[in-house]
Assembly symmetry: C2
Homo-oligomer: 257 residues x 2
Amino acid sequence: MEHLTLIKVGGKIVEEQEALSRLLASFASISGRKVLVHGGGRSATAMAARLGIESRMVGGRRVTDKAMLEVVTMVYGGLVNKNIVAGLQAAGVNALGMTGADMNILLSDKRPVKEVDYGYVGDVRRVDGKSLAGLIEMGVVPVIAPLTHDGKGSMLNTNADTMAGETAKALAAYYDVTLIYCFEKKGVLRDENDDESVIPEITFPLFNKYCDEGVVQGGMIPKLENAFDAIRHGVREVIITRADAIGQENEGTRIVG
Amino acid sequence: MEHLTLIKVGGKIVEEQEALSRLLASFASISGRKVLVHGGGRSATAMAARLGIESRMVGGRRVTDKAMLEVVTMVYGGLVNKNIVAGLQAAGVNALGMTGADMNILLSDKRPVKEVDYGYVGDVRRVDGKSLAGLIEMGVVPVIAPLTHDGKGSMLNTNADTMAGETAKALAAYYDVTLIYCFEKKGVLRDENDDESVIPEITFPLFNKYCDEGVVQGGMIPKLENAFDAIRHGVREVIITRADAIGQENEGTRIVG
């Protein structure tokens, strides 16, 4: 099987021009087949504010009414995505910007209303790994925005970490996949006040232990849960690291089965 | 050669939900290979106004400074494009939303500053018909927003009629192309106050005669010039008609060599 690198980059990295330029250079330098999944929450919040639309978050997830769906569709699918695509093309990468609606690559169910009505938020139902692999074999590098669709004509706001994990799982049928989650820190830290306290490797038993001890907490827990889920579904390795460290050996935290 | 239908739809049609629904249904009913190129100027103007950005037009073309480039990138590439893509997917069409930057399908030069500085506006330099044909042969239906890129990292606002014409010319090397320009009227009218006075067929000598006589004027002149240019470059036929009449025989005005 050919190797494929799937990189998820969030917020700050794609929204500040300088950090983005560094990311595009490191991403361009990765050899072989690759896919980029990006976020853009800060830009959506900023654009919503300029339009007088209030951003409401519940448990770290954005409540997405009709007006907010318009904002995220245009900011994620247009502004952020095309800025990345144009930058990658300039760096010689044959990028193709996509949402889940494009070629129907990620189909979602609108999240059922329980205690919270998240509105137009999608839970991924199916990823079309075959079509993605078809594009990749044409030499295309998919650049995926955090949007899916419901198959009934509506776009849905969708968590980028989840989309990256689900896409990695679907591509594991065709490739030997390394999934890299990039964020601001060097990796999963043993001590959140010490940027150098990177945990080099986490197994599932160790993850449970760290959760119990409170070493791992907050937004890192769902990130690691996604990582272990990907490993269980055939992804070879998951790495949590800084965007700057993309492509460097022995950087970040490696998640293994 | 296989037949391919390339449809360009402008402003009103893709921006009003009811007209869009009718368009999506007629577009879905077209058999065989197809491509959609869309506009979105009204939505861009409306979004710019909401953001306190003034729209400035010179000779029907939008002056595009940095702030306006952000607006058109997110409105054309995000809001309008993904709304169409999600709608077509719901109608069973395997749509893929693209700008010229995606897979580098339309590369432009930033328009040189002469009497007017149009800002981030692109004049199409090259269309990659081969990559588009590759997608089309995968069963994909490209849905192209009126944006290109300069190959140096910047998106460029680009006229949708021109993009449709240039794309039709590039695809003429691979397909027997029918290019259809949809707008509000039934076709090119002999009398602009009589909606039924459609001219069924215009040859190039007839076009010159109509221009001299003032029968054809205003925005119809560049549209027809694009049409004749396409015919001269191998496009089989160009039809100017209403969106409602897509796929109907003997509707609209047929442009022939």
